[in-house]
Amino acid sequence: MTYARRALAVARKDVAVERRSKETLNALVFFSLLLLFVFQITLGADRDRLAAVLPGVLWLGFVLSALLALGRTFLVEREHDCWEGLLLAPGDKSAIYLGKLASNLVLMTVVEALVLGLFVIFFDIDIRRALPGLFIVVALGTFGLATVGTLFAAMTANVRAREVLFPVLLLPVQVPVLLATVKATEALLLGEPLGAVAHWLKLLAAADVIYLVVSVLTFDVILEG
């Protein structure tokens, strides 16, 4: 299946480039540490206040890192002038989208694990009981961010004021994902069972499917020229 091979080639290429240059990963790690530092200063002392805002702060960390990571999706193509090469690649362009999505998911998972780990350590939170549910929520939320994020990254890759435009376009569209993930995380951290947040999970799943389908169908249009 050439389609799968092409998608895989894109994903592998991105992972290889990132592994060797570590540009994005370094930026994200540094950024996460910075975020943690700032949160620690402003919230660390007051345990009660921290517990109340933790879900929001955690997802703020996730989202800001995601914006950074997703915004750079096509940076390597732009820096090395490979963008036109992608445009001219014959065949279904959505394979490129899936490849980019895969590598973005890998990157985001690594960073989220790091952020979560740092949060648990530095804020001394016990999330063991909430963990399975948390995995699901984070997985669904990350997928939602990455699907539209990769599409919009392609859309804004070569326009003026790209760095400002990308979050301006992405954030309002991602409001459902943000609300659902924060609310579900909040409930889970308070000890509620997974069933209590079922409606949020269903919303996330529906959003993920819609976003993925639309992105795959419209990516060709973005990469027409």
């Binding site: 326009v159 959003a207 020229g225």
Partner: protein, 215 residues
Amino acid sequence: MIRTLGWLSVVALVAGLVMSFGVAPREVTQGTVQRIMYVHVPLVISSYVAFIVLAVASFVYLLRRDPRADRVAHASGEIGVMFIGLGIATGSIWGKPTWGTWWTWDARLTSVAILFVMYVGYLLLRGSIDDPERAARFAAVLGIVAALDIPLVHFSVYWWRTLHQPPSLMKPGGFTGSTAILWPLLVNLVAFVILYAYLTARRARLLRAEAEAVA
């Protein structure tokens, strides 16, 4: 055709104005300022209509690559953002003396605010791309993604505000009950939708003139 729309909207608006002040009853607690609802609600609803038109026109454009569809989407976006901006403004003007606050994050207001930002993003994207054909394509994709997202936004915001939350402060409109309120509202709604159609048509025609002048 466009001119008829123009005259029609003037007539309808005047009718609406007359009804808002003459026919509609004076609200007991809120007073005259409540009459701004007859402008506020139609503005917001019309902006949703504009968005639906934008989404459909975007879809048509992607299928047929007809520049006319793109111009309709573009014009709809510009008129829509104006309407929703005015809608938010009139809502605030209504809200301050009535409920003591310019703004609150209840379900309806939050949804409208998000729609407003989406509109602005749409126009910003169009403004950032020089190649008109590429701008049309990208804007169309954004329009469709945003339109499909609106139901998700509504559900999530509604759940956010109503589940385990006290009831929202502001409840615009009092549709339950008297037809005395309903008729002026409907007349104004129709008037504003016609106004939207007229302004969009004029704007689209202007866009066409611009495109033809250069090509």
